[in-house]
């Protein structure tokens, strides 16, 4: 559905993205995960058409879209700050996203109701934005982004501004919403737990490079490097030396036998 090939980007000759390539299947949710400054938001903006890559190409549904202006891509983007209009009520905020669509007022109203039901805010249509909690604002912003039925949904740290308990609750609510809508989604986050909970696959970036692209289980169980393990909060990473074929001696004395590549299947614990 979406494919990126050898995307490169620099700002003032400082490289920000190096040869990023991956593909996203239709209906899949992919998390762009990495520490602050790793290039994930820049990558999202390139897909959105808000930035141009220095080289490489972005294709959607088989077509190159590098020269297609952002507003003609049919993609929906939701930002961390939500950018709701304070002078409009909830229903009008959601309807705002439908302004460019040729829709009768009745169809527009039906679509707004559908989106309110989707995010569980059917009784909130006339509420003002300032009357909403952080979580409710987040759901209104999602409804507004989904209202025009975007071909690709892009979420840039949508839960980052919320406190931890609310973030966890909304994270649990987002999964069924995205599944019900079935839209292909790019989800930017620096939070590994959030990425693993929401995404079918994770694109793990560091310093502008794609380090690992795999399902959450694979990233957790088969990290491609010590950095990936540590980024996930796994602290027990020991240096080791290959002693003979299939055996690694660790610095603290454990000798670990490997029976398949990158996978320890047997260990004995000989103290030095």
């Amino acid at each position: 559905m979406l494919s990126l090939a050898a995307i490169r980007k620099s700002y003032d000759s400082a490289p920000v993205l190096h040869d990023i390539s991956f593909a996203v299947d239709a209906g899949e949710t992919v998390a762009l995960l990495g520490p602050s400054g790793c290039g994930k938001t820049t990558l999202l903006r390139i897909v959105a058409g808000l930035e141009r890559a220095d080289s490489g190409s972005v294709r959607f549904a088989g077509e190159p879209i590098d020269t297609v202006p952002a507003h003609q891509r049919g993609f929906g983007m939701m930002f961390q700050e939500y950018a709701l209009f304070p002078h409009l009520n909830v229903a009008d905020n959601i309807a705002y996203g439908l302004q460019t669509h040729t829709m009768s007022p009745a169809d527009r109203n039906a679509r707004v109701n559908e989106m309110l039901a989707l995010v569980g805010l059917s009784t909130y249509r006339t509420r003002r934005v300032y009357q909403l909690s952080g979580g409710e604002r987040q759901r209104v912003a999602l409804a507004r982004t989904l209202a025009p039925a975007p071909r690709l949904l892009m979420l840039d740290e949508p839960l980052a501004a919320l406190d931890r308990s609310l973030r966890k609750r909304l994270q649990d609510e987002l999964v069924p919403i995205l599944q019900r809508v079935g839209v292909t989604t790019l989800y930017v986050t620096h939070d590994q737990e959030e990425a693993f909970a929401l995404a079918d696959r994770v694109a793990l970036l560091n310093a502008g490079e794609l380090i690992q692209y795999a399902c959450p289980e694979e990233v957790y169980r088969r990290p491609v490097s010590a950095w990936v393990a540590r980024f996930q909060g796994l602290k027990n990473v020991l240096d080791g030396e290959l002693q003979e074929v299939g055996t690694v001696q660790t610095a603290i004395g454990w000798c670990i036998t490997i029976v398949q590549e990158h996978r320890a299947q047997n260990a004995d614990h000989r103290a030095q």
Binding site: A229, N236, D239, V248, G253, I256, H269
Partner: protein, 78 residues
């Protein structure tokens, strides 16, 4: 290369208990979080963090530590 030992890899036995093998480790710190005791074990000068669904402190301040090989991964050099 590096070796990654997952937090669930540790098997503990009381120091010198029947069938005790492996490395001697000292329980350095522990904290009950969620449903696990997150426990830092010191082995010589190295500290490793493991998770247990029981209080490892009940086994004593020093324990015999073995590792379950199913929870160890060798990472390629980068």
């Amino acid at each position: 290369m590096s070796v990654l030992i997952y937090p669930e890899a540790a098997l503990l036995l009381p120091e010198g208990g029947a069938g005790a093998r492996g490395m001697l480790a000292t329980i350095n710190a522990k904290q009950f979080r969620g449903r696990f005791y997150q426990t830092e074990l010191a082995i010589g000068g190295t500290k490793l963090v493991f998770e247990f669904d029981y209080d490892p402190g009940a086994l004593g301040a020093t324990v015999n530590l073995q590792l379950d090989p199913q929870h160890i991964v060798v990472l390629p050099a980068t």
